[in-house]
Symmetry: C2
Subunit: 171 residues, 2 copies
DNA sequence: TCATTTGTTTTGATCTGCTCAAGAAAGTGG
DNA sequence: CCACTTTCTTGAGCAGATCAAAACAAATGA
């Protein structure tokens, strides 16, 4: 379901949404850029559909998220990101330095943390796993002693300060 | 380390921070209220140390977080929460309806999701697991058909709309 | 094809959470 | 007790996101 390869019009319609240019443009914008922030989506949409407002993009993203055509993730310390992969509940790795995000198809063979001991009487519906670490670029930059080739994005992102809470992974 | 039972002054000093009234007040405020937002912390601090500014609380919380005395969590769709448990990298259950948070001592006997298949070349340092579900109160309210006793907090919280992205947990 | 109805987009304001900068105040080591 | 450094206060300001009303366009039925 929600396979991005199918006709977007089809997907929209079957989700009960009307087919409009802004929505198609947003879906198009999301295809080459997984994990795009609203602002980036807006930038891309503005390219092939000038005259679209930022609020329209927000509205479209909310509508698509509500309809399940788009998934919204919110890594701590940065704006919300949107992606097209909605069928599977996969997870994400976030680079603590540059903020880049990559998908992680949950690996441990068996559903892992997904069954906490019902600890406080909560009825658990979803588990959301976010890995924090270093992306290849920032890793290389780190190894070179902070003077080699800088990674793509700005290195002074607020993400860096707000993230790696505890270092030693615990069971 | 960072045992809340030890003298807070001691903890502050050994973290290289000066012992000030606002900081002690923040630590005191955090004790009875785990997972408190900055605003709540400020409210409590204002009670036993009037004249403290909101920004001071933000500054103190940042300082304490930086020093490792306080841990900061940021559930999607809500403000940052602060807690005193810092030694262990435990996880959290968030109620999708009322936004309440509870601790979850990661249950699976062995480090669970913590070793993704190094998927995209990322060097993983930390794993952060957030469970989404229903707290006991909201569960009861739901069962009563949305007209029984309402849960404690506002039921129209923005958290509700922004959360349960995918329903079926995946491995 | 036209008018209707329903749902979207635009426009502009507003809000929350949080950060930054400057000077005043307080803690710390001698 | 003094000087030095850190921290707090005050006030402004920013980014991300939401809300409300009005203009507008797409599906539906006559």
């Amino acid at each position: 379901m929600t396979d991005p390869t199918v006709d977007p019009r089809e997907a929209l319609r079957s989700a009960g949404l009307r087919v409009t240019e802004p929505r198609l443009a947003v879906l198009r914008a999301l295809e080459p850029a997984p994990h795009a922030a609203a602002e980036q989506v807006f930038a891309r949409v503005a390219l092939d559909l000038p005259g679209t407002s930022v609020q329209a993009v927000y509205g479209v993203l909310n509508a698509l998220t509500g309809a399940g055509l788009v998934r919204r993730i919110e890594p701590a310390g940065s704006a919300a990101l949107y992606e097209l992969r909605t069928g599977d509940n996969h997870h994400h790795v976030v680079c603590g330095v540059c903020g880049s995000v990559a998908d992680v198809d949950c690996v441990v063979g068996h559903a892992p943390c997904l069954t906490p001991s019902h600890d406080s009487g909560y009825l658990v519906q979803t588990a959301e796993v976010t890995f924090w670490g270093l992306c290849p670029a920032c890793r290389a930059a780190e190894a070179d002693g902070a003077e080699g080739d800088e990674p793509t994005r700005a290195s002074s992102s607020p993400v860096a300060a707000a993230t790696p809470v505890a270092t030693g992974p615990t069971a």
